[in-house]
């Protein structure tokens, strides 16, 4: 299988010009070839569907949706590469009505 690495990199939010992508493309070919055995997996049986449902029982025990104290804003912002006026600072995303 051949990969459009630039497209895959964009989907992955990696730099499409990253020189590492060439080697990674070769690795990906062999890994995807290997995991291709999964295409022969038979469908779930009804017993397996029931087992999956049972194994999920009790999951998602959510907290009550109530307001409670959270992290101090300053301590969170302190970890950011840049911040201004109590907010995370990022480059301009929309300029003159055009998304960059």
């Amino acid at each position: 299988m051949e990969f459009d690495m630039a497209h895959l990199a964009r989907l992955s939010r990696l730099d499409p010009h990253d020189p590492a992508l060439k080697d990674l493309s070769e690795d990906l070919k062999s890994i995807v070839g290997f995991v291709g055995t999964l295409t022969s997996v038979p469908d779930r049986t009804s017993e397996e569907v029931a087992l999956e449902a049972a194994s999920g029982a009790g999951l998602g025990l959510l907290r009550e949706d109530v307001s409670r104290p959270s992290f101090d804003r300053a301590s969170l912002l302190a970890a950011s590469p840049t911040n201004e006026d109590g907010c995370y600072a990022v480059p301009v995303a929309i300029e003159k009505g055009v998304a960059k």
Binding site: F3, M5, L8, A9, R10, L11, S12, R13, L14, D15, P16, D18, A20, D23, L24, D27, L28, S30, I31, V32, F34, V35, G36, T37, L38, T39, V41, P42, D43, R44, T45, E47, E48, V49, L51, E52, S55, G58, L59, G60, L61, L62, R63, F71, D72, S75, L76, A78, A79, S80, P81, T82, Y88, V90, P91, V92, A93, K100
Partner: protein
């Protein structure tokens, strides 16, 4: 401890024994902490287990712990279980005000504003945190060669890998750099390094330990667990960690049950024949058979059995874990924390350049694989099929556990391999996880226990796997192997490790 013994001995006894000495005030927490710090200073330049050592702060914490111990001895409130015991933590566990980098350039210098629940619980037990431990970047790897900082070397032979991804945690426990350590296991990341380094490592049942504050790799698989020098320590530390946490909606309250005095009489042990083939190192196969004889001698029944769907284990694991990783690691974009690229011309290029500069090759490989298997046109064929395989694997274990209480197998096909031996071939590296990923996909507990040494003096670890929430059975079986194998109390010669690293 006899007072005539040196401080190095404090680094060799297990955590429960050290906790006992501290409570009896045979030794002070400051003495113990200093002994571990001295050992780290002397040998970790070779081993590379630590990414951050809290020398001054650990000594201050030890002084505080000692005040608690002194107060308890004077009739005050009882000191908590591990009061004053020096421990260390894998660097993907969030630690308030202590660097947490996941061994990645992406998180260089990051100071979290909160503690993971597991860290809170360890601190509440009175333990003194010595520092943070090296690992494969974002817990992706089986040899600890993927750390962006430095590889970890195996204390038993410094030319060998310690296993991954919790390689720093295993090496530190084996080398006597901490009384116990915490690691995380997604597909074998506690068990494999525990086996390669000759320590006990537990991957608990999924849901039994809160994942809050564990930097997420694959959320349906990740679990935090202990790496220790004895089975009793592993059981005791698991008891601290387990239990419901409101911060993790998947966590449940299933209190660990005591098993220290429980034997293995009547235990039905299955030995999967899939892991006794010629592909497995003969000494590892022999050790499985020897352990079966030890268990039988104490009243267990051991028979060979078959595990269904083993051919799907590795493919399903790498598809599911990479898919989840591609989603979980999307949060690292240079905005709220972590590395931001120096130059970019738009917000989109800031994201992509920050990520390409911050992540190492293995992390990029898995993000790309995960993105591919989730992409339009391929989702059903790969991710959908992996989920079907996971259902077959879970059902397969369910069937096996109708006839067996516990499974006994190797942890890996061979003992620790040489640094660089497999790092050029990702697929060969992934195959290291062949014996461990099944329990991860099924969400069931599995434990690695030292069971012998090969002809080159490298530790051999065996894996015990049981149904969900059967950790007490695993501890009982592991206790039998520990008693019979004679590995307890054996330590690597670190001076030899230093010499071999220099010669490598």
């Amino acid at each position: 401890m006899n007072r005539s013994e040196g401080p190095e001995d404090l680094c060799r006894i297990d955590a429960l024994a050290l906790a006992g000495l501290l409570k009896l005030r045979e030794v002070s927490s400051v003495e113990a902490t200093r002994a571990f710090l001295d050992r780290i200073a002397r040998y970790d330049g070779t081993v590379g287990a630590f990414l951050h050592v809290r020398t001054e702060d650990a000594l201050k914490d030890a002084e505080s712990a000692q005040r608690t111990l002194d107060a308890a001895a004077s009739g005050g409130p009882e000191a908590p279980a591990f009061c004053g015991v020096p421990v260390a933590l894998k660097d993907n566990l969030s630690t308030k005000g202590i660097p947490t980098t996941c061994a990645s350039k992406m998180l260089e210098g990051y100071l979290p504003p909160y503690d993971a629940t597991a860290v809170e619980r360890v601190k509440a037990s009175g333990a003194v945190v010595l520092g943070k431990l090296n690992m494969d970047e974002f817990a992706m790897g089986s040899s600890n060669e993927n750390s962006s900082v430095k590889p970890v070397r195996n204390p038993w032979d410094a030319t060998r890998v310690p296993g991954g991804s919790s390689g720093g945690s295993a090496a530190a426990a084996a080398a006597g750099f901490a009384a116990f350590t915490l690691g995380s296991d997604t597909g074998g990341s506690i068990r494999l390094p525990a086996a390669f380094c000759g320590v006990v490592g537990l991957k608990p049942t999924y849901r039994s330990v809160s994942r809050y504050g564990l930097v997420a790799f694959s959320s349906s698989l990740d679990q935090i667990g202990p790496l220790t020098r004895s089975v009793a320590d592993a059981e005791s530390v698991f008891g601290l960690l387990a239990g419901r946490d409101p911060h993790d909606a998947t966590s449940v309250d299933r209190p660990a049950t005591a098993s220290a005095t429980r034997g293995v009489k009547g235990l039905r042990v299955g030995i999967p024949r899939e892991f006794l083939t010629d592909a497995v190192q003969p000494e590892v196969r022999d050790t499985v058979r020897r352990a079966a004889a030890w268990l039988s001698a104490e009243g267990a029944t051991c028979v060979e059995c078959a595990l269904p769907a083993v051919d799907y284990w590795i493919p399903a694991y790498y598809v599911v874990s990479s898919a989840e990783a591609s989603s979980n690691l999307a949060r690292f974009d240079g905005v709220r924390y972590g590395h931001r690229a120096g130059t970019y011309d738009s917000i989109a290029s800031m994201y992509s350049r920050s990520r390409s500069e911050g992540f190492g090759a293995e992390v990029k490989r898995r993000i790309l694989l995960g993105t591919f298997v989730l992409s339009a046109g391929y989702h059903d064929a790969y991710y959908g099929s992996a989920q079907k395989a996971r259902a077959h694997i879970r059902a397969g274990f369910e069937g096996v556990f109708r006839d067996h209480d516990v499974l006994l197998s190797p942890v890996a096909p061979q003992t620790a391999f040489r640094l660089g031996e497999k790092s050029g071939d990702p697929l060969q590296m992934y195959l290291q996880d062949i014996c461990t990923v099944g329990a991860s996909l099924a969400g069931i507990p599995a434990l690695s226990v030292p069971a012998g040494f090969d002809g080159e003096g490298l530790p051999i670890g065996l894996q015990l796997t049981g149904p969900a929430f059967s950790e007490n059975v695993l501890f009982a079986a592991a206790g039998c192997i520990e008693r019979s194998a004679g590995c307890l109390g054996r330590f690597p010669d670190l001076d030899r490790a230093v010499a071999s690293a220099k010669g490598a």
